[in-house]
Amino acid sequence: MSRIGVFVCHCGENISRTVDVERVAAEVGKLPGVALATDYKYMCSDPGQGLLKKAIAEQRLSHVVVAACSPRMHERTFRKAVESAGINPFLCEMANIREHCSWVHDNREEATEKAIEIVGMMVERVKRNRALPAITVPVTKRSLIIGGGIAGIQAALDIADAGHEVVLVEREPSIGGHMAQLSETFPTLDCSQCIMTPRMVDVANHPRITLHSYSEVEHVEGYIGNFQVTIRKKARSVDEKKCTGCGVCIEKCPIRKIPNKFDCNLGMRPAIYIPFPQAVPNTPVIDRESCAMFKSGKCGLCKKVCGPGAVDYEQEDRLIVEPVGAIVVATGFDLYDITEKPKGSQIKGYGEFGHGRIPDVIDGMTFERLASASGPTGGRILRPSDGREPKQIVFIQCVGSRAREKGISYCSKVCCMYTAKQTMLYHHKVHDGQAYVFFMDARTPGKSYDEFWRRSIEEEEAVYIRGMVSRLYQKGDKIVVMGSDIAVGVQVEIEADMVVLATAVQPRSGADILAQKLGISYDKYHFYSEAHAKLRPVECATAGIYLAGACQGPKDIPDTVSQASAAAAKVMTLFAREKLEREPIVARVREAGCVGCFYCRKVCAYGAIEEKEIRDRQGNLIKVVAYVNPGVCGGCGTCQATCPSKSVELDGYTDEQIVAMIEAL
């Protein structure tokens, strides 16, 4: 027979003002199994908890119900208190008579009646609670980082410097991401390459970082502290161990006219290539779709000229499994592209800007490549169409961003600042040129940001026009920009030599596919969601997975790096422990009843349901039943509501408990 103790809290007057707490205690005291029912002014205070502990000892209580505020407020407090008095914490429940009763009803009679029923229900429930042992799981102190942009690089270096192993997976042949493509960076105009490449080299040389470039995450299993990640290393056709990075193959390749993606297709590269001179690793990769050897079997030049014999046409994709305890997702962003979109896409293109068919209408990243000293023009701003220097240049902000009708309503955050930067770079390089900027607002909240923006106008002579551009079209070798200046209220028409569009920052295409592999959530645009916008901004709701950089939302480099270091700090906090304790509310299978239909497996979003063979003493197979891996189970109970034979039960929420609670009403 249980000996339940019920403690009804006044919460000062918060509860007792509308609920007759003494009557609640008196009524509940009559319920079978209740050994003690009492009330007290402040249960959560030190003396309140003391009273609870004393009563447990003196009255030999077996279960406790504290009728007070929401369990979301104080369940931990009271479970800790009963634990210190020798009762399993899961034998203590709270009845919420404040948030759900005294605060929302003012009729004393009704509120008291309701409170009695709420407490009675919890008495029936706690009676049927099982003492649950704490579940501990070991922590694998290695971490996986997905994406080798500045976010992934920063997180990798921080974690590795703290003494833990890091596995960095990058989809492209080289790490670096977008920052490697930038020319100079706001708000200080440091050369991006100069600050970026040393970090990339640090990654390559770090004894605790394993870099898998040209690789992707294929499959993820497990849970916080214990993930098993399968990585697909795509065939590079060059053996990374043998290659010395001499580059002879690249010189000799006869197929040379392939647009270079890294240079936004402005320059050309051969079929065997490294994306840019400072690439890490600097092992070339064969683009099999363009390579003559793969297309027709005729060539083989690179293999012939390679001294160390690193070129390997037979190389295949390899799958490797890495055990890790934490995952940082840092897959960055893509840019909105204005070309015509397939039917049904939520994002629309820009027909009014020529759908990307006017050659001298480029996007911001292409401008970065033009302005970069190591870019295809050696840092000269030249028109892609005829190589002439543009004397009139128009920048258009908010292309795609803050444009609900185009499918995106958020602000991309970096465009105001990089457009200001680009007008400056332009003015530095084309002294007799004029830059115009069409903008809606200038959003410059950042340290030294507004000063930087003002400089572009006051010192670098950019002309800012507040208004939108309605149309762009080619006229001879000019581009006519038709817009409005809403400050003055007139239509403007500019004949420009080049137009630069500040296109919206978007999540990577395929971000949703990766999210599904990882079991993390994303918003309607496919930016990954943090667990709490303010208080847990770098954690995912899925334990053990963290976010860094633009994959979570548009960000500039300072914000990206801060978030990456924060994510690294979270990983290190996790790795500071040998074992993890987790809430032991998990499902369990009653093997006798289980018929092995595995409907539960179909609905379990955590992949917690495994197969277990039941054998007789001779070792003959009797049946295969479901088994819930307690380390993986999230504790939702969906399996239980689904199981046709009622053979799986979630601790603390058994059918028996719930029916008893309903019956108590």
Binding site: S70, P71, R72, N96, R98, E99, H100, C101, W103, V104, H105, D106, N107, E110, A111, E113, K114, E117, I118, M121, G519, S521, A541, T542, I585, V603, A605, Y606, G634, G635, C636, G637, T638, Q640, A641, T642, L650, Y653, D655, I658, V659, M661, I662, E663, L665
Partner: protein, 168 residues
């Protein structure tokens, strides 16, 4: 709309099955914001709407509930990834069944109330309470239990016919 606290002739009993992450927290928020709503509702907390077995709804009606509310996280916001999608499917089918056995579906409400929607919680509960109050007590299940199970009477033509067929 009634003013909370006024007594009526009939006070319906409403049982709400809610998930702990969204709707329970939403109801907490209604409390911390000191909003007011009818005292007829009793909450049962579940980890996830995915855990809610339709049997519980039947049990609640059988136990004297006049209205039942099931509420959880908005689609896509499930704390357990997808539990509420399973719940949605399950209850869509279950509603059909309930309708078939003759329960007025106005007594059974499904809603999504997030942790931030204290106001929506108040609206949903108030509306359901008022609606069920107008409908009067739920007698179907109780009458069923009393008359058909225990009386053994075959007072309708259909029942008599069905009975005769068993005889053959």
């Amino acid at each position: 709309m009634s003013t909370p606290g006024t007594k009526h002739d009939f006070e319906p009993k409403i049982i709400a099955f809610v998930c702990t992450w969204c709707t329970y927290a939403g109801a907490d928020l209604a409390g911390t914001s000191r909003m007011q709503y009818p005292a007829n509702v009793r909450l049962l907390k579940f980890p996830c709407t995915g855990r809610i077995d339709p049997i519980f709804i039947l049990k609640a009606f059988q136990q004297g509930a006049d209205g039942v509310l099931v509420s959880g996280c908005h689609p896509g916001d499930c704390h357990y990834i997808a539990g509420n999608f399973h719940a949605r499917r399950r209850f869509a089918a279950f509603r059909k069944l309930l309708e078939f056995v003759g329960v007025d579906l106005n007594r059974l409400q499904f809603s999504w109330v997030s942790a931030a929607e204290g106001g929506k919680w108040v609206e949903v509960v108030t509306e359901l309470t008022e609606r069920v109050r107008c409908m009067g007590p739920m007698l179907e299940f109780k009458e069923l239990a009393l008359e058909e199970q225990w009386s053994g009477k075959l007072d309708s033509l259909e029942l008599q016919e069905a009975y005769n067929q068993i005889q053959v």
